[in-house]
Structure formats: C-alpha cells, structure tokens
C-alpha cells in the first residue's frame, strides 16, 4: 500500500503494482506448509493497442501471470487495477469432449471462451472453413486425428475477440501446414492494433512481435520497457548464467512440468 502507485494515463488498461501470488499446498491439512510465492513482486502497466511481451525462463512465473491476468486466479498481495476490460487466455480445445460432434464441441468451447451460443452458431461457417474440416464437423470428436482436433481448437479460439488477448507461445497447433496458417493468422492479429500480452521464453519471438516487454525472473519483474532494452538485459543475464551456474537448471525444469501447461 505504501509503495507509489504507477501513473495511469488514459491509455492504461491494466496496472499491476507489487503483485504476488502464493500457492499454499491446497487442501486443508493438519500441518499446513508454508506458502510458496510463485509471483513475488510484479509491477507493470498494460497500454491500449500494444503487444506486451512477457519474457523469462521456464518456471519464472509467466504462466501464473497469464492466469492472473485472465482472471482465473486471484493475487495475494499488491494491487491490480483493471479499467473494465475483458481479458481471455487463448486456450485451445477448451472443454472438448470426445463423444460429441465437432460442431457441438465448437459451440461448447466457444461459450466457454466467452461467446454467446448464437454468436458461435453465427460463426460456425468461418470455423468450419478455417479448420478445413468440411463435413467432418458433424463426426464425433473421437474419430478425429489429433491434428484435426487442434485445427478445430484453434479455429474456435480464433473467433473469440476479448479486449485483451493473452497468448502463451508454447501452444502447439497441429500439423506443419496448419501451423504455418495459424501462426500467420495469429501474427496478423498481434500486429493489428489489438491489445495483446504474449508470453515466451524466446527473446527472438518477443523482439519480432512486441512493442514493449516485461522480464519476469523468479517471480519478480526485473525490467519493464522498450522491447530491445528488456530483451538485451535478459540475453545478457542468460549468457552470464550459462557460463557461471549451470547447476541451477534441473530443479526448475522438474517444477515447470507440474505447474500446469497452458494448452
């Protein structure tokens, strides 16, 4: 509370100030574990129309930050101010059920992602066309190949247009050909004037697509600002760690597997 709040000019959509998220080992237990702070101190503003990159190594807290911005979980300390904008995590195949047809799954998934039922139905032609499923749309999902499922998943998710779109770069989308098509579509949307938060551990991706960036390290926002400055600092630190402390890596990788993946 005592910390100075970031200034809010008219174009700020969301501001985070000293935000932390703790995991408390979940269920009630006879001997509670001490909380584990996945995010410790994150401060940045998200501005209208920008593509903000979130960069950091595995298990730095990037996925947790996305879930926090998406309103899935709540923070435990600090302040978040959302000036009334809808946010959504781009998530593929959300709520898919094997025994229903592709069409039914598309409707269910679309509603879950934030559309009204009639909106999904109105966009069904676009979904079928983009996914290239044709008549297969009325087959049960259990007859789909994994490539077909991811094509349908992406085509539905692409129809959802929240004020702020949250993207985790690790999303995998089907076969190579469709991968090219979907990332083209995604890049188009990223380059448009939509407000987007893009998470990646690749400095190259962030530099190519984003205007500004936040570097999250060990739950703390180390740098915020111009994309080139932030990625340069991130790269410098990575290079330094590679030479000085290679032993720190294995434990982090193990934890990142249990932390929940965003696909």
């Amino acid at each position: 509370m005592a910390a100075p709040t970031p200034t809010h000019d008219a174009t700020t959509l969301i501001s985070l100030d000293g935000v932390g998220v703790a995991f408390r080992g979940g269920q009630l237990t006879l001997r509670p574990k001490p909380p584990f702070w996945v995010l410790k101190d994150v401060t940045f503003d998200l501005r209208q129309g920008e593509t903000l990159g979130v960069i950091g190594r595995n298990a730095a807290g990037k996925s947790t930050l996305l879930r926090l911005l998406a309103g899935i979980i709540a923070h435990d300390r600090g302040n978040i101010i959302n000036h009334g904008h809808s946010t959504a995590l781009l998530s593929l195949q959300t709520g898919f059920v094997p025994h229903l047809s592709g069409r039914q799954n598309a409707i269910l998934s679309g509603i879950l992602l934030g559309l009204r039922r009639r909106e999904v139905e109105a966009r069904m032609d676009a979904i079928i066309e983009f996914s290239e499923l044709g008549d297969f749309i009325d087959e049960p999902l259990s007859n789909y190949s994994s490539g077909m499922r991811s094509r349908l998943g992406f085509s539905v998710a692409y129809q959802v247009e929240p004020d702020i779109l949250l993207i985790d770069e690790t999303l995998s989308v089907g076969d190579e050909e469709f991968q090219a098509k979907s990332s083209r579509a995604m890049h188009e949307r990223i380059r448009s004037d939509k407000t987007i938060v893009l998470v990646s551990h690749s400095a190259a991706t962030i530099t190519a697509l984003c205007d500004r960036a936040v570097w999250i390290d060990n739950g703390i926002s180390r740098e915020v600002g111009n994309v080139d400055d932030v990625t340069a600092a991130y790269r410098a630190e990575l290079a330094q760690r590679d030479t000085s402390a290679p032993t720190g890596a294995p434990r982090r990788i193990i934890r990142s597997k249990t932390e929940g993946v965003s696909t």
Binding site: Q27, I72, A74, N82, I111, L112, R116
Partner: protein, 270 residues
C-alpha cells in the same frame, strides 16, 4: 460487442453468475453432458430407464420375494420410495466431484464455479424426470388414479430439488478443501437410506422415535409422495415448509461460500 470474459478486480462482486452467457453455458453443458454420457453406451438413452428398473428389481427380489414383505400394494409402495430416493442419492454422490473434477477447465478459462454443480444437478434431474414418468405410468396401470392431491406434486418435487441443490452446492464447494468429506458423506447417505422409510412405513417404528424420524427431510418427502400418489391425500404442509426454509438458508450459505472461493479452486485442482 465483445462479451466480457472476466475482469480481474480482486474479490469483486461481479454477479457473473447471472450473466446470460452463463445461462447459455449451463444449458448447453447440461445438454452436452447428457449427450456425451449416452453416447458412451450401446443402448444410449435407454439406460436412463433400464438402470433404475434393474436397481428397483434388486429391492423387489430381496424385500418383496425373499423376505416376503410383499402383500397388497407393496411393489407400488417400494417403487415410489425408491424413485425419489435414487434421485437424491445420485445427485449427492455426484456433487462432491463437480468442482474438483473440472480442474483442467478451470485453469484454462474463468468459469464461475457454480456452473459445475448446477450442470450436474440438472443432468440428474433430467434423468429423474424420465424415471418419474415411468413410475407414474406404472402406478396408473396398477390402479392408482390421478387425484386432486397431484397438484401438490410439483411443489414437492420443487422442495426436493431445493434440498438436492443446497446439499450438492455445499458439497461441491467444501470437498476440494476436504476430500475426506466425500467418504464420510457416502456412509451418511447409506445410513440415511435405511432411515428414510423406503421399504418400511413410519407406522412400523415406535411412536417415540417419530420426531427424530421426520427430522430426516427425505423421510418426510417420501411419505408425502406416497400420500399423494398412493392415497390421494394432501401432504403435511408444515413439515415441508420447514424443510424448504432450511434448504434456502443452506443454499444461500453454500452459494456465498463458492462465490467467495471462486478464484481459489483453480489452484486446488490442477
């Protein structure tokens, strides 16, 4: 306009639950769950009727034939109790897992957690309606005519729906924090089954225990159903109103609990 998926104001009372998108979600997910469940088996929707008939047959064989409790009207008496009991039993045995089981989904999108127990309550209610229709046909064919007391039947079903909803939402909200509760509840329901007068009439137990017997809402409800369906008599309004009142209080508390913990559940179930 773009629908609002969520905002991230902490502890805000968004009333996201009455959002028309949530009504879409509840209805479509109920429909989808029913379709998906039926699609898993060969005879699909027929199971909704065959399954309860088979389980009723078990009771008929044991109590009607083996123990010789048969006699006039015992089958109708037994079936009436069982149909309403198994609705209650099914709903409650599914309830504990509804939020806990949705872990994957909750971590992908923000969904008001009340959606999950309500969908399960509605799917179980739908299946119950089918069984109820079969029971009514059976009763009419067996000579139990429709009477004016039938007017109270929807009220009675409404009260039982409130009872199921209140307890289900409470269980759905507490079990993620206290999974052990599910095992305790299973045994309590088992006990309640024997105390609800399904295969015996309240007149079979000593008078001094009646107060306790009727404190069990299912005992009161089952007796009321039998009054209407088998005897053409009006049910005991006072007891029913008391049940409805308690259910409303529990329901309000359970809803408040789940709303309050809305953003905690995704962390418990991932």
């Amino acid at each position: 306009m773009t629908p609002k998926v969520s905002d991230i104001e902490p502890r805000s009372r968004r009333g996201g639950w009455l959002d028309p998108r949530m009504i879409d979600l509840v209805l479509y997910k109920t429909y989808a769950d029913l379709r998906a469940e039926a699609a898993k088996t060969y005879i699909n929707y027929l199971w909704w009727i065959v399954d309860p008939i088979l389980s009723m047959l078990v009771f008929y064989i044991v109590f009607g034939l083996l123990l010789g409790r048969g006699g006039d009207g015992f089958v109708a008496f037994l079936l009436t109790g069982l149909v309403f009991w198994s609705w209650y039993n099914q709903t409650l045995s599914h309830a504990g897992n509804t939020i806990l089981g949705a872990g994957g989904l909750m971590n992908q999108v923000h969904v008001p957690k009340l959606v999950f127990p309500i969908v399960t309550i509605l799917t179980d209610f739908t299946k119950f309606c089918v069984v109820l229709a079969v029971l009514l046909v059976f009763l009419w064919l067996s000579g139990y005519a429709i009477n004016t007391a039938y007017l109270a039947l929807p009220v009675l079903i409404g009260i039982q729906l409130m009872l199921c909803t209140a307890l289900s939402i409470l269980l759905a909200g507490v079990v993620p924090y206290l999974p052990d509760l599910k095992l305790v509840v299973n045994n309590l329901i088992h006990l309640q089954f024997f105390l609800s007068g399904i295969f015996f009439a309240p007149s079979d137990i000593p008078e001094q225990y009646h107060t306790w017997f009727y404190a069990n809402p299912m005992a009161t409800l089952i007796e009321s159903y039998r009054d209407i369906l088998l005897h053409g008599a009006w049910p005991h309004a006072g007891r029913l109103m008391a049940i409805a009142f308690v259910c409303l209080v529990v329901l309000a508390a359970a809803v408040a609990l789940i709303q309050r913990l809305d953003k905690r559940y995704p962390r418990l179930a991932q």
